[in-house]
Symmetry: C2
Subunit: 375 residues, 2 copies
């Protein structure tokens, strides 16, 4: 089954609503930077590479919207969870000013700002915005229509490139898995976290494509349950055997000798190889080391942030307490309890057996090896 | 607030229904071995010491029931989750046979069997049944009424003793916590897991009673959510500051320097000091070691099983897949996924900083130190 997490249709961006999977499979549509930013914030779309692609479309959509001079549409979809995004700036519709003039530029800058404030940890967001900004600057002298068309082409290219890169990473990563391997993964670094194929789950898909029989163990990944809802769903669709466990069971499974390797995705890798990923990844990595189980991180180059020296400097998003109180409308936590909800943690490079990139496997990553990768 | 997890009232055993806490606080009542066994299996009552106390009452209730020659009442409460207990034997009501004769004895043996099959991991269950059996044997020549009375007295004594022991352990354990300590706990080893006061949470209560300001970090403890529902609730009642996290966040909290100590309970300690406890305890212990955070286990002597050499031999219960698919009636897991649900794991003795017992603290427990404890 081909999963199109994001697609361009009817001159809009359509994204699978990942908050309601797997019970309901539904696309929501987006036609402005602000609505895409809200889709990212509320986790309609999630996963570092997918967020990057969404942000690129957000920029293109904003150019198209300003070009068409439409008023701002209401945010789609209506918010169900958490607080609305605090954009801190007013997003005035561009109306009546000359194209290519200050109004268009101001509108675009506002769009960039709103998108950049949607979520803090995944660097692909900033990487994609930077790439879109460069394109914008390169065509700044052209007509708004030409600018909008060029930005949309770039978003399409980022999407297509993401799938190509995942395929390349998948082929490299598949080499690391033995036939029959039982592989644990945390959260969802699948087709749903990317434009398609997936990073960690892309490795599994490529291994199966290469004729290997592997089976997957999926942590449920509280509080948003990406493992139980998304990874399990993707693997069931692919007919790859998958076993669901709660997050506190991976140590038991390793101690029982039921895990041969760990492959996860990442939201940002620092220049020294430290890996930020979904909360709980660090615990899995520490346990894997104790049991001498290889711990791999599937990581496109767009996820490596050479501007951040170590993981300590990676901003860690703290999300709404409501997510931890229960799930959706079901709340089970005792009234009056304080709640923490860090959404990511940092796994030090020393615990990483290898980074799987589109340029190959970087074993025991460190600052020197990562620098070389970008030379 | 005094929490009476189990109480004798109206000639029946009443137990707080822990499946529906904290939203609903309600007692269910039990009047036979079979109904108590079902209450244990379905986790109306849980926590090793509380299970032991419940089983003791189950034996006494069975004697009373046989003595009164009542028909078996329907199981209370109606099952909502999982499969009914597979008792594998028919529990025929004792009717019309001579007291003290074979009918009474057979009925009692059946009661012991049903209770012993309710849950496999917590040794307190078997410890309590053994203790009740000895009492029964010591009065076997007396009238059924005398036997029933004596067994009920013993159950009352086990309950009272449990609270006294928790208080003693609490005082010893409190010494281990510095003023201002931020202490992480997993699952619920509180008043709700015992006859009152608690083992791990008893240590926190005793520390506060001794004038120390401590704060608690509670793992939510999937899938049954004892941390979010029970530990958080108990600490809020006690006005002890408590912060709830998901199970995959404890590594992050430790890495941030926000955890000074870990205190957990246990369901069975092997003769070498290996500790079986709620699934996920092992992961917390491994992380605590990595961060040089002391890892303490509050453990009454009744939880130490000198007949089992190492943790490898402790039977680990696998519970219903339904528990992992979601919570209560809310299911979120993808259809078609396989599920594992081991309810406990084993933490090797080498990771245990100390056992907190009613005879004092056993630092770095091993076979020799535990043997000495029982000399």
């Amino acid at each position: 089954m081909k999963i199109e997490t994001l697609r361009w249709a009817h001159n809009k961006l359509e994204m699978i609503d990942q908050r309601i999977l797997p019970a309901t499979f539904e696309y929501l549509s987006y036609d402005s930077a602000a609505s895409v930013a809200e889709g990212i914030r509320s986790m309609v779309v999630r996963g570092a590479p997918a967020i990057g692609v969404a942000a690129a479309y957000g920029v293109a959509l904003e150019a198209l919207r300003l070009f068409a001079s439409k008023p701002i549409p209401p945010l789609t979809p209506p918010l169900k969870e958490g607080e609305p995004i605090a954009i801190g700036i007013s997003l005035a519709p561009f109306q009546g000013e000359g194209w290519g003039g200050d109004g268009f530029k101001t509108g675009m800058e506002t769009g960039f700002t709103v998108l950049s404030q949607s979520r803090p940890t995944a660097v692909n967001l900033f990487w994609a915005l930077q790439r879109m900004r460069k394109v914008w600057e390169s065509v700044a002298n052209q007509t708004p229509q030409q600018i909008a068309t060029r930005l949309l082409d770039e978003a399409h290219e980022i999407l297509a490139e993401d799938i190509r890169i995942n395929r390349t990473m998948g082929a490299f990563g598949a080499e690391l898995l033995a036939d029959g391997a039982r592989v644990l993964t945390h959260c969802n670094a699948g087709a749903l976290a990317t434009a398609g194929w997936g990073t960690a789950l892309g490795v599994f898909r490529s291994a199966v494509e290469a004729g290997k029989k592997i089976s997957v163990i999926a942590d449920e990944t509280r509080p948003f349950l990406q493992g139980a809802r998304l990874t399990a769903w993707e693997m069931v669709q692919e007919k790859i055997p998958v076993t669901l466990i709660t997050d506190n069971m991976s140590g038991y499974m390793m101690a029982q000798g039921e895990v041969d390797a760990v492959v996860v995705g990442t939201d940002r890798v620092a220049a020294n190889g430290d890996v930020a990923n979904k909360i709980g990844t660090y615990m899995v990595a520490v346990l894997a080391r104790r049991h001498n189980i290889p711990f791999y991180v599937a990581c496109p180059l767009s996820t490596i942030d050479m501007n951040i020296a170590t993981g300590t400097d990676i901003p860690i998003e703290e999300r709404s307490a409501d997510e931890v109180k229960g799930f959706r409308d079901t709340h089970w936590a005792a009234e009056g309890v304080k709640i923490r909800n860090p959404s990511f943690d940092v796994t030090p490079a020393e615990l990483v057996t290898g980074l799987i990139t589109e340029k190959g496997i970087i074993l025991q990553p460190d600052a020197k090896k990562l620098r070389k990768l970008f030379d």
